[in-house]
Symmetry: D2
Subunit: 376 residues, 4 copies
């Protein structure tokens, strides 16, 4: 059967939680927004044959493979979507870019600045479309927050705070796996912090300097098959002071040892004219308080970020119905497919590198116990 000319064929590398979320995003995008092209889930890869076979069927892929390189070599694949652990990203990006594929890479871009830079160089050199999976930018309320900051609704930004709390690592009996391996999973600064750093720089501008601390409360975890122990290579929790280039100040905290905090993040901006607060547990809302509001109504508004005039909201349901996490992927892929094949795509891997540099500076600050200037 001839390939329809409006079909964009996707190969997803990795079949875990992100693989599912991406499959959902590609599948739902054309229903939620009318698109000029149709994404087709062509192939999914993974190392575990049984698991990837089951996942590929469950998520609606045409086929599967245990050899990710075979995906890159297939001429019918348009977009290589990378959902592996972070430590494997850079190599795959480079291979895909060399084959002229458009690249969607999950965040963080990599586990080191050098490898992240190599990935960026590859997509630049080959001139391929590329995007990095900072999906929370596409939540309607977060997109609205960015728009309001950009439009000057809160004036010049003075302060920013981003806090991400989870309980993923609290239980000391969780055995060692790749998430605790710095070379494969990256740090908690890289995993959770990269989202926060991205939102911060996207809304406010470049980070200039950081001072950070980290703690690993559970230093050893049981090894493969419960035998022996393996030293944990990453931080359970970290926090950082931030100075932005424009003079604003920030505080960031990421932690995976916070009981009954499943995945709670908040981002707040305080400007000369107002305050914006986003709380992920209320993901369809955005708080705004402005100094020029009538004093009789002193306080903050809870904006329902679902009004048709809000970013992305018009694609979805009637106001008041609410969207969930999955909407961030739907909106993301809809944007990318709408721009197919000319682009531009945003955020790109260069944004991923920029974030990697800041996260790396935080890690160095922890190690060297000093303020670290970005780019130093």
């Amino acid at each position: 059967m001839a390939r329809p000319k409006d079909e964009v064929r996707i190969g997803v590398i990795g079949y875990g939680a992100m693989g599912k979320a991406h499959a959902y995003g590609y599948t739902a995008a054309p229903v939620i927004r009318r698109l000029p092209v149709n994404p087709k889930l062509a192939v999914m890869s993974g190392r575990n044959e049984n698991a990837v076979a089951a996942a590929s069927v469950a998520y609606g892929f045409e086929s599967w493979t245990t050899d990710w390189r075979s995906i890159i070599e297939r001429p019918d694949i348009d977009i290589v979507d990378i959902c592996t652990p972070p430590g494997a990203h850079a190599e795959i990006v480079q291979a895909a870019a060399s084959s002229g594929k458009a690249v969607f890479c999950e965040k963080p871009l990599s586990v080191s600045v050098a490898s992240a830079r190599a990935a960026v160089d590859a997509v630049k050199k080959n001139g391929v479309l590329n995007a990095i999976g900072f999906n929370y930018r596409r939540l309607p309320a977060v997109a609205l927050m960015k728009q309001l900051v950009q439009n000057g609704e809160v004036g010049d930004v003075l302060l920013w705070r981003g806090i991400w709390l989870s309980d993923e690592f609290l239980d000391p009996t969780i055995p060692f796996d790749w998430r605790f391996d710095r070379q494969m999973g990256g740090t908690t600064i890289g995993d959770l912090g990269s989202h926060l750093v991205d939102m911060a720089e996207w809304m406010i501008g470049p980070v200039a300097e950081v001072s950070a601390q980290s703690a690993t409360f559970i230093a050893q975890r049981s090894g493969p098959g419960g035998r022996g122990t393996v030293p944990v290579g990453i931080d359970d929790a970290s926090s950082a002071l931030i100075r932005f280039a424009n003079g604003a100040r920030g505080v960031m905290e990421v932690a995976r040892t916070c009981a009954r905090r499943p995945c709670d993040f908040t981002v707040e901006v305080n400007g000369t004219l107002g305050t914006l607060v986003f709380d992920y547990t209320r993901l369809n809302e955005l708080q705004i308080g402005r100094v020029d509001d009538d004093a009789l109504f002193y306080g903050r508004r809870t904006v329902r970020a679902e009004h048709p005039s809000h970013p992305y909201a018009g694609d979805w349901w009637a106001i008041g119905q609410g969207v969930g996490y999955g909407s961030s992927f739907v909106n993301f892929f809809a944007d990318l497919l709408q721009a197919w094949p000319e682009g531009p795509w945003s955020p790109g891997l260069e944004d991923g590198l920029r974030v990697q540099v800041v996260c790396d500076a935080m890690e160095r600050s922890v190690e060297e116990r000093r303020w670290v200037t970005i780019g130093s």
Copy 2:
């Protein structure tokens, strides 16, 4: 091309907001849950040719028609999914059932008890699978609420309250359309109240008696093309006192003239052992307070209705990420397709009739200014 034997072909009648939500639900269901069959969006119908053509393409249907009867006559259609205004439901149900189609009918079942009963009779007589679109039952938190009530976690239910507030009709310049036509759109009791009555009876048991009031604040609306005025045939706002057969008492309120209340509903149950509160603006949460909790912790828990042990939650994302309105349809269709073709399906049209009877009793109570016994 031969039809795959695991394909279930859907014909959707109506292309408005519900048509989109259903298309989304059928499309996303197989990604979210592994299903034994694949739903296929075969055909969509609507009276406006251009609009239905555009919608059918946007939502991914194979074809479209302006003649709903042609869908029912097509031998390849397995499920007829009815998304028209309520006044058209009963006739379509009857036609579809006569053709041996499984029927999914949006709520409310109809705009009169007689026509609703005719619809139920038709599906019974023809022995076809049938379901009524009380989708909120399938929100994880609402399903959890039902489970907790059923398991006796709050003891014997004493009190129930359900309040649904929107601002859909507040603006008096909204012109008359089918929503204001009692024979086509049904009442506000039927539109919003049917969801609340269904949740109440599902969780607590049959309603025995009601006393209700209604108000139509904007009695006339501008007519077609802005010419003349048309009398509004329905209630802007209604409220009802309820006595359940088991002795519990209830209060229900529905209103579409509440400023800055886009679609806010709350349902609360107070039992001899505890309280449960669901607030749709916090749709991933369920509050529970139990009398046997340590007094030191007197208060209510906010349960994140996303734990893998909760209904539907395991199909979705990691805890803390949250789902939206669309998840109710995904979960609903996943359940129906999983039970294909033997069934059972639930809630069925008979549940829709049961709700219609209660709503009708409320309307009679308004008219006759007296308590009305259900079934009288």
Copy 3:
């Protein structure tokens, strides 16, 4: 020692929770607001000698007595403050008024319309200052709500709802006491509902008609000393539909069998131009949503009802610090003392009678299972 000419001497009849709250209110008022007179806690009465003696010392009264009539006969007492169970109010009001005392009477005014009217007649005939203890009017946020309604900020009121949930009576092992005795404690409609009815009529205008239901889930309670059982004479929970004279509609619910709902009440007003929501668990806040707000900010503001421009707020702390329940009494007594001795005082016993008439209509509606017109 000669009596200072700016002293106003108070006799409080009753020493329970209300006696304490009033003692606190009189004591704190002069610190919170500069007043032209000084309240002096002269005497407290109660039937239990040891208990009243202890309470009078604890709360700072000069003296105590077991004979309330002696207070009324004392020429040095200016204000008789009645904190007894409701069934005893009317007789004391009449005695106090006959002696020319100003009267502050806790709510509800009485347990029957006839006795409430006798109380009002007495204060009128004797021309004494009088007030009824609808203290929640004096919470800053409730006072602000009234002000905003009155100033037309939400337009013409269409809908009102007031819900008061507590768990006071949920435990079936609580023995019978005066609160369950209709002639002494009055009904739950009278106890909790009187506050709600007062706020409704104060903000919106007279109630014209009601339809109500009541339930007594625990019909018998153990008698004195745990011997035998006594039939409960009042409602555990009631609800009512309301039609206001101006065409607005309302719903009221009061219940004392709601687990982990200690004393939660909400009052909401929906008008043609906006919505106001007060939630007592957030007593320093008032929500407002207005139709003329920029659609970009669709939602509701959470107003901190502590801005110096808000009613009462300027007397208290810096904005953001918050007041509690006690502030309602402080503000109330400060208002009364500021108007001493000319008055006017508000709300007066006539307002108490007005509320009593509405509560009585609700009780009759329950009994007669029909809509009852106020004043019929």
Copy 4:
């Protein structure tokens, strides 16, 4: 008139917002809790004769003076209560202690470690009772939080965060006054941060090391009478990374340039067994989430910190009614008076010094751009 032997006579130095709050606290304490002694507001001092005269009358003091030393010299004064700007605290403490007076000093203890130490030395040398005004410890919910941490309800503490946001200094047209003068008002770290540091150390233990940053966004403010400009000597906003001696990590932020954040502080503790969250805008509540809760109820409880079993709550109102900011002073003074004259009093000036040392370390960290070890 002879002095009653159970009277404790108070002299308050300073008549501003704190003077009012303290007057309220002393006045209301005996009504809220039965105390062995009666506080008497004997004298208030201030430099502005008209203002202090008016305030002393308004708050119910017997007399006033413009000479604070005269208060210390009066033999009838038992407690000297210091409500001046921080820069004046140490000198007054020393004078009062030398005169053998008990001392209550508002926070922060001083504006330098040296002067704070001198104050502590003075109260030690003279053996006088002394307390420092960390009043938030006495909010019922904060006291409950401490109790739960201490009882091990959340296990070993891993993480702490304290954030205090206000908009006090956001408006650049606010002219220079003593609050912007480092020698008189102290820093924002000292003003807001001292409360947070105190709560942190009280609950978790000593701070070992800090890294901090500060910003002064409005560097100049208009001078006296609007003439000229004066350089602002303090931080508008600061943040700090914290390492506790026991290995826990913390983040603190204080800011007075956050629009529509009147006085919002949150304190959170994450331990090996659970999480506790206090939010001052919900001051009658405490959130707790524990890992050993049934997974079916995964989430956090909102504890109403008003149960009679909770600290201080039994002194106040029925559960659900709520207390405000003033309750912290009432509870504080009730504790101090109950322990009169033997003591102990807590927290004492030594606790104030301990906090001063940490705040000073943060300020040095800002200046020297490095981690600073406490006590170094």
